[in-house]
Symmetry: D2
Subunit: 348 residues, 4 copies
Amino acid sequence: MTSNRPLGVAVIGAGYWGPNLVRNFQGSASFQLRWLCDLDRSRAERVVGRYSTVRVSVDLDEVLADPEVDAVAIATPAGTHMQVALAALRAGKHVLVEKPLAVTVAEAEELVREAESRGLTLMCDHTFCYTPVVAQIRDLIHSGDLGDIMWVDSIRINLGLVQRDIDVIWDLAPHDLAVLDFIMPEGVVPVSVSAVGRDPIDAGHSCLAYLTLNLSNGAIAHINVNWLSPVKVRSFTVGGSKRTLVWDDMNPMYRLNIFDRGVDITSDEDLGVEEKRNRLISYRSGDMIAPALQEREALQAMVEEYAHAIRTGTPPKTDGRSGVRVLRILEAASASLAENGALKMVEL
Amino acid sequence: MTSNRPLGVAVIGAGYWGPNLVRNFQGSASFQLRWLCDLDRSRAERVVGRYSTVRVSVDLDEVLADPEVDAVAIATPAGTHMQVALAALRAGKHVLVEKPLAVTVAEAEELVREAESRGLTLMCDHTFCYTPVVAQIRDLIHSGDLGDIMWVDSIRINLGLVQRDIDVIWDLAPHDLAVLDFIMPEGVVPVSVSAVGRDPIDAGHSCLAYLTLNLSNGAIAHINVNWLSPVKVRSFTVGGSKRTLVWDDMNPMYRLNIFDRGVDITSDEDLGVEEKRNRLISYRSGDMIAPALQEREALQAMVEEYAHAIRTGTPPKTDGRSGVRVLRILEAASASLAENGALKMVEL
Amino acid sequence: MTSNRPLGVAVIGAGYWGPNLVRNFQGSASFQLRWLCDLDRSRAERVVGRYSTVRVSVDLDEVLADPEVDAVAIATPAGTHMQVALAALRAGKHVLVEKPLAVTVAEAEELVREAESRGLTLMCDHTFCYTPVVAQIRDLIHSGDLGDIMWVDSIRINLGLVQRDIDVIWDLAPHDLAVLDFIMPEGVVPVSVSAVGRDPIDAGHSCLAYLTLNLSNGAIAHINVNWLSPVKVRSFTVGGSKRTLVWDDMNPMYRLNIFDRGVDITSDEDLGVEEKRNRLISYRSGDMIAPALQEREALQAMVEEYAHAIRTGTPPKTDGRSGVRVLRILEAASASLAENGALKMVEL
Amino acid sequence: MTSNRPLGVAVIGAGYWGPNLVRNFQGSASFQLRWLCDLDRSRAERVVGRYSTVRVSVDLDEVLADPEVDAVAIATPAGTHMQVALAALRAGKHVLVEKPLAVTVAEAEELVREAESRGLTLMCDHTFCYTPVVAQIRDLIHSGDLGDIMWVDSIRINLGLVQRDIDVIWDLAPHDLAVLDFIMPEGVVPVSVSAVGRDPIDAGHSCLAYLTLNLSNGAIAHINVNWLSPVKVRSFTVGGSKRTLVWDDMNPMYRLNIFDRGVDITSDEDLGVEEKRNRLISYRSGDMIAPALQEREALQAMVEEYAHAIRTGTPPKTDGRSGVRVLRILEAASASLAENGALKMVEL
């Protein structure tokens, strides 16, 4: 493929997320948006608008048959991701899928195999991984500035749209799990998970839930997701042995806060038991730094990463395998939820 | 006992909490502070100060032998509560004990039996139960304004003093558990608890922990306590079927927030399964009210409640039995913590 | 004009504000966007995008000659508003102008005369007047819920784009002055103004300024505008004799705060001087209410108001006359600024 | 005077501020508190409490006649400061006076002369100058870290006690003026002031006011004081050519915020007029740092400074002359207020 012309792309799905993809593909010089496809033609027409030259279709086959279409972006309901993505891959198209990649690990793995065997790009739209703040968090962790990771706490709650087909864990936790997958140091992965939830409004599945992940380095990661909270909180904390950072996404002025505050304990290995018990606890009370962050739309960066992955044939930052890892945790969390929090192993 | 003269009182323990008790007993017309007792005389002398007529003693027996002492207030380390309180009760003194009431349920129950058999007041200093905001929360719940209690979420985290003798659950969660005990509707009690924690600084016990309580009405109460957070959060949310309240103790201007925002689902009992799945979800997006709250020191109200309980012989709001209930949950939480979150029953 | 077909509209100016107008006219069923006109064709083409059927022109005359164009929306630099608007009116087009309506009162009055003599709509895009929060503020004042207006304080500061052609007062204060014009009770108008400013970065005109307006009812309105503040503040307070409201536009959750808190003084007319001095001051410390506000884009409502004004021939909420009133205050403020805060009368 | 024994001190005035002085002198090893003097004996007795050995008096002469009294601290109504302080100085006592030092410049100067001629310490209790945050602000300015001072903006508003004898400027602005006096670089002083105010509740004097100070280096300092605001704001901003700091006293976690954000303009002196107009404006968008601040009660530091000044015979940081400077500005502000904001010169 030559890099001289824009990649032809089709967006599949004109619901909640599709319009964002349409807007960002239109804004990218790397792509030429050729189709918006949705079973509901009028919905698709509303999304492209009265002034657009982008074609609308209700027929996926028609879209996939278009040789000008190099790549697709799928924003259909989660339950259909597998089928649509598979059809696209088999038609030789590169595929970007909205999170979650599929609704089972088995399906997701089949997609990965299909893409790899065909040499096509399979990418998962874990949007937050393309925000400037998450990029900086990853740098802070990988550079060692935070020290060892000791604990992670994420709160993602608000009065949210109660989904009909998936519970609050499958709706909201993929964001946290994808970010966690992206930022953690090499080799630090979840090894088991426990989840509890409640459905107090009789929606048919959990509307609020707590996930506890045990990480391979002994750290804990705790995630609170909730559709019923009247207050919107987006807070993601990473406690390190040297520093602790808080990403407060509701605070545009201080979105990232890096605290040089913590507790140190003198650790002299030669101390006896009694001495160890009495060793000095000291408190660091250093500065807080809120670094300047680029203002950049994450979706635009994601779209460019997709183009780059296609052109170079290298895996994108959030490739199909990362989507599979997120799904493994979601499946284990669902199993735990069904047993009221029983600990479930995760194999990553 | 006549109500004409102030009650003679002795404070036992001049450490972290004792000075607050000293100050508030001195400020109360219901009491005459007679002694401050501590094993470290100079510490006690520093607390009463160079200008005070209050006597200092290192000898508990001397204090308990004083017939002018009607009541004691105990703010010694938790491990000594039992022994000091028992001595005081046996000397015929009314007893107020800082939380936790004792370090085992068995000890606490012995104190309750001893006090009841002697007709003496036994009170637990669950200070938050005497704040105006908690009084109002209790009213909102008991009046039915919140509707059915669906979920409770408390966050009590900050860069805290790492205790040597107790873990973060025993240090901080008693506040949340006492408030929960105080505000819940009649008959709604914890029936089981799960707890996980971490000690990433090698302090000898958990420095951060998550508790999940299953309540008898099906609701969930989740508590996050943490000594290592550089950010101080004191947030206590009660989600009801009609309204949701958030007590944000770090925000003096909007300390209590009552939201008329939530999710309703049409519940027509005659619907078939398919209809039920498709029934209407509607979102209430009403006003938020931050009620005016009295500015009043909680400890002053607590001290007056102690006087009232002594004079009338009626149990105080936070009596020994409430202290026992809190301990039952703490013990179950510790058992769960030791088994990495295994669910433990609580018998209240 | 029949109301059966959409109004043909052309947007003039593809700089900072033009794209917002383009997007909102495209989203309105009341309009058919026919042209985007800008002296820089490539800029206009970028704004409509590669996928649009909207025509682009660098020639205003060509656009005004199009009989399908019923109305224009002008978002060119302030200094050109007069000339472009006059040409449009003379071509028989309805006119919407970005704030400020013109750069002198004389020019603005000429536009008003021209529009009125031709029976055309002349509207000023005072966008904030179309936000749900300002609508509610107006209702609270006009219903008497706030009581008499005693003071207004607005802070509009952030690290802003330093304009080359206008100072910070002309750039930012029109927002505050237009809102003030819109919400005040009948008959309460500014009668004089004082302004001071500074240009500490040598930009050629004031980069920060304070305006003090004396209102006809004796109240004061104070406005702080600043391009150099690293903190972004958008706070607008109206102090009334009964209640006080704070519009905090940076706080989406509590955007409008209505406080039933204040100071009352017993006012018995029969008191003597000495008694009056000693009369009772009492403090109300009532609830704060943050009302639920519709989430609605202001520009969409503005665009529909434009359509409604054109179709019915009635003046829009922010008509040319309101634009003239804002300009009268800006001119007086500039005169005061030049004399370091000397008080200048305003004739409204 | 030997430094071996504590200084004998008497507090005069047991109203709003006196109890704070009593508490802090009692807590200082440098002082021995001997008397609390108030015309209302029962009020003084309530302040020292039932347990105190500190003597109470209603007779100033009795207190001043006590040879054990080396120093006094005056917290009587402002109108009596002059008379009480003068009596104390004439009795050979060192004097600390609550702000304002007196109610006229002439009175304050007489106190300064009296103290200097007798070799006694005269100190003004400008408490904020002894906070860790103001100490750090002074360092940041004097070290040059902020660059040239360009603007200062202070907001000190809340639902405050409406004073009977003084207006809101005399009640609240002394804090801001004293801090300004303390932190400004050598030679940067107010040269003129304008003040406007309102009394919408008919209290007899201004309940809200705005002060504008022109500084000798061309900078502006603006102060907003208000007793009627339901929201409490304590915000003090210093805009410098290199950095800008915001002291937000209502935010204990981020009390001091130092922003490396601002606007720079290329200033090539060789540019012609036209080039200058077109020179590059660039925006710095660097980090924000919230430095760790000591937690220390300001009054305790102030009391120790008083002891140090007495023992060494050196002027305290906030000596009588600083009190005079603050009064000069207050007098000029009052004169301006009476003429609705007319500019008044200040001679410092």
